[in-house]
């Protein structure tokens, strides 16, 4: 069990309930244990039919479901759930990883798609992003993290009132980090959401972009906002 990255645990203000739909016993107990240690309450369903039954109650904060399941496959279950007007955020876990598979999964009502096998930190970061999406303040035009401000309309960025000059891509990068402030975002998440790249380059391209951004927002300030989380990714958070 590799759950060594927990800078995000304080975020759990209340006990979040997750439903894990997974037929493989070992994977399921790995998920149950890992997510439990991260502070979630986890229920498990063994197949799509049980999953649909449990999820239909609407009592979960998020669903993690395998794509290939006995009795009813994950996508069918998800479509049925969405047809019943239940919009619990869902993350699809699948061994099928082509762009086509991804598109199919998202079309069926998935909110995120993670290819097996995955690093646990990646899964955790994505589940948190899903949970935040549900509770995010709607239609905000100004993002704030500590003394850092980002205006979505004028595309101006300031820290302590001093303007920060960013390239367009750096602006997008910062926007994504600020929307997920306080939580770990992985390199893969950044590649997917900021660059729309669905593969991992062999070069540390994302790291260099992030370090340039860090130069611009953290240099000349005593307390850094942008942190590297070893083995996981990055986290932008206000100093305590």
């Amino acid at each position: 069990m590799v759950v060594d990255t927990r800078p995000h645990a304080p975020f759990l203000l209340r006990n979040m309930k997750l439903l894990v739909v997974e037929d493989d016993r070992e994977t399921a107990s790995y998920l149950q244990k890992g997510l439990g240690e991260s502070g979630y309450t986890v229920d498990r369903a063994q197949d799509g039919r049980d999953g649909l039954f449990l999820a239909s109650s609407g009592g979960y904060d998020a669903i993690v479901l395998d794509r290939m399941l006995p009795a009813m496959d994950g996508l069918t279950m998800l479509s049925a759930l969405r047809a019943a007007e239940i919009h619990t955020p869902a993350l699809i876990l699948s061994a099928l990883g082509t762009v086509d598979d991804r598109v199919k999964g998202l079309r069926a009502g998935g909110d995120d798609y993670l290819v097996k096998p995955f690093a646990f930190s990646e899964l955790l970061a994505r589940i948190e992003a899903l949970l935040r999406r549900g509770s995010a303040a709607p239609a905000t035009t100004m993002l704030r993290v500590g003394e850092l401000e980002l205006d979505l309309l004028t595309r101006a960025v300031r820290r302590c009132g001093k303007p920060v000059d960013l390239l367009p891509r750096e602006f997008q990068l910062l926007e994504y980090l600020m929307r997920n402030a306080g939580h770990v975002v992985t390199r893969t998440m950044l590649l997917e959401h900021v660059w729309d790249y669905h593969f991992d380059p062999q070069t540390n391209v994302v790291d260099v972009h992030v370090s340039r951004l860090r130069q611009k927002i953290d240099r000349s300030f005593a307390r850094p906002l942008l942190h590297t989380v070893r083995g996981a990714g990055y986290c932008l958070r206000a100093p305590d």
Binding site: V2, G97, T98, V99, D100, P117, A119, R169, W195, Y197, H198, F199, D200, P201, Q202, T203, N204, V205, D207, V208, H209, R212, G231
Partner: protein
């Protein structure tokens, strides 16, 4: 002995072309045979129709003409009878009978007691009933000195007072003509039907032969000979089209199978080593020091190893997928400039940090049909390679069009690749650096080539003097 015989392998099935009749029951079941039989039936019906028409228009026509002549004659005699009475009729019949029967007309008028009064027939013909109407009878004629019996056709008219008039005609020539026509038609009919039968058989045999070729090729392919193809005869008919389509399908299947087999081989050869390494690390962690920090380090190393393994595995699957051929063809139009711009922007900071000077030169509006993700990944692979091996200097990304080809070029100032290795580097797991100290799995260029082929393009390596120039060419999409 019998048992031994039964155990013998089945003799190779005789070729249908050479042993046609031996396969008769099978032949009857074939579609080709039924088609040929149908054609033969239609053919026979039309031949029969033509023959009947010819008969009706020749032999039957002569007969109808005989009767018309007799009718006219009788009408003439009836007028005479009306004007001149019985004696006049007898006179005329006597006059008309005086000749030597050159016109083959026959006359006989008899008294109520049956005695002939006039005419050119000696006596009332035997077996002819005394009933008014059309009748056939036989007459004696003298030709070339001997007596012959000729067929005749005539009509008997009853005259009031018990007199009878027989007007007829010798139809020996007409009957001979009819027999001749019948015989001719019979023979020509038989010949035509025979030809039709042979033609139908030949047609069905030809059809069967080509279908059989397709069948036999399919059987051989199913038996495992994937490179077998249906022969194309160059006639560009439906069978050639069928053969062409089947062959293209077989090409695709063979390509898929080859790609799959290559992946399996690669997995066997090149994933075993890292898996063994991974296992060794975990084993060491288990039996090694009890210090938690050491164990944690060993486990972390094992996870890194597993991640590398996964990356290799994913790369192999990606190559196999790209090689399997165009899955979504035609792909949507794609601006190569956008792909180049995106990759250049992503890589620029990392490249600059390593001492590269990245330049991007794109010609606007160079479009191809393609998958953005695959092409981005391809370009990323090339840039990864440049960053890994070139060690700095100019790194140029260019997009331009040459005629109907769209070109995407990545050129660096590194050590380049010697000419002799420029083909082999595309093979899987080939890495030119003998020490293999740089991280990588040797699959980057294999993917580049697979993606290029999938987009009906090509990839070539050239000398950038100095450095390496990778050139990808695709069919351009006309604006």
């Amino acid at each position: 002995m019998v048992a031994e015989k039964l155990l013998l392998p089945a003799a190779p099935r005789p070729s249908l072309t050479r042993h046609f009749p031996a396969n008769l029951p099978r032949l009857v079941r074939t579609h080709a045979f039924r088609l040929a039989a149908l054609y033969f039936a239609v053919f026979a019906a039309s031949v029969l129709g033509v023959l009947l028409f010819v008969y009706w228009n020749s032999a039957d026509f002569v007969e109808r003409q005989t009767e018309a002549t007799l009718e006219a004659e009788i009408t003439g005699l009836a007028e005479q009878y009306d004007q001149r009475g019985l004696s006049g009729l007898v006179q005329i019949v006597a006059a008309r009978s005086a000749g030597d029967r050159g016109d083959a007309m026959l006359y006989l008028i008899t008294a109520p007691d049956g005695q002939p009064l006039a005419g050119n027939i000696a006596a009332w013909p035997l077996g002819v009933p005394a009933r008014a109407g059309w009748l056939s009878f036989a007459v004696q004629s003298t030709a070339n000195g001997h007596v012959e019996t000729d067929p005749a056709r005539g009509r008997l008219i009853l005259i009031p007072g018990g007199y009878r008039l027989l007007v007829g005609r010798d139809i020996r020539d007409a009957a001979a003509f009819r027999d001749r026509v019948k015989l001719t038609l019979l023979w020509s009919g038989l010949v035509a039907l025979g030809v039709g039968l042979l033609g139908g058989a030949a047609m069905s045999r030809k059809l069967l032969r080509r279908v059989e070729l397709v069948n036999r090729t399919s059987e051989r392919v199913m038996a495992g000979n994937l490179s077998d193809r249906v022969p194309v005869e160059g006639t560009s008919d439906e069978f050639d089209q069928l053969a062409g389509n089947l062959n293209r399908m077989l090409d695709q299947i063979e390509r898929l199978m080859t790609a799959m087999r290559e992946v399996t081989d690669d997995v066997a050869h090149d994933l075993r080593t890292p898996l063994a390494r991974l296992r060794a690390r975990l084993e060491l962690a288990l039996i090694g020091s009890d210090d938690a920090a050491d164990q944690g380090e060993a486990i972390r190393a094992a996870i890194d190893e597993a991640d590398r393994l996964l990356a290799t595995f994913n790369a192999l699957l990606g190559i196999a997928e790209a090689q399997a051929g165009p899955a979504r063809d035609p792909a949507e139009p794609l601006d190569l400039c956008e792909v180049a711009r995106g990759a250049a922007e992503l890589y620029q900071p990392a490249a600059e940090e390593r001492g590269f000077n990245v330049s991007l030169a794109v010609e606007a509006g160079v479009k191809i049909r393609g998958d953005r993700h695959l092409l981005s990944q391809t370009l990323a692979n090339l840039l990864d390679n440049a960053l890994k091996y070139a060690g700095g200097g100019d790194l140029q990304i260019r997009v331009f069009a040459v005629g109907r080809r769209a070109v995407l070029e990545v050129a660096d100032r590194g050590p380049g690749i010697p000419k002799s290795d420029r083909e082999s580097v595309f093979d899987r797991f080939v890495r030119l650096e003998p020490s293999r100290s740089t991280p990588g799995n040797g699959l980057g260029l294999s993917l580049v080539r697979a993606v290029a082929h999938r987009h009906h393009g090509s990839v070539t390596l050239a000398d950038n003097q100095p450095g390496l120039k990778v050139r990808l060419e695709f069919p351009a999409l006309s604006a």
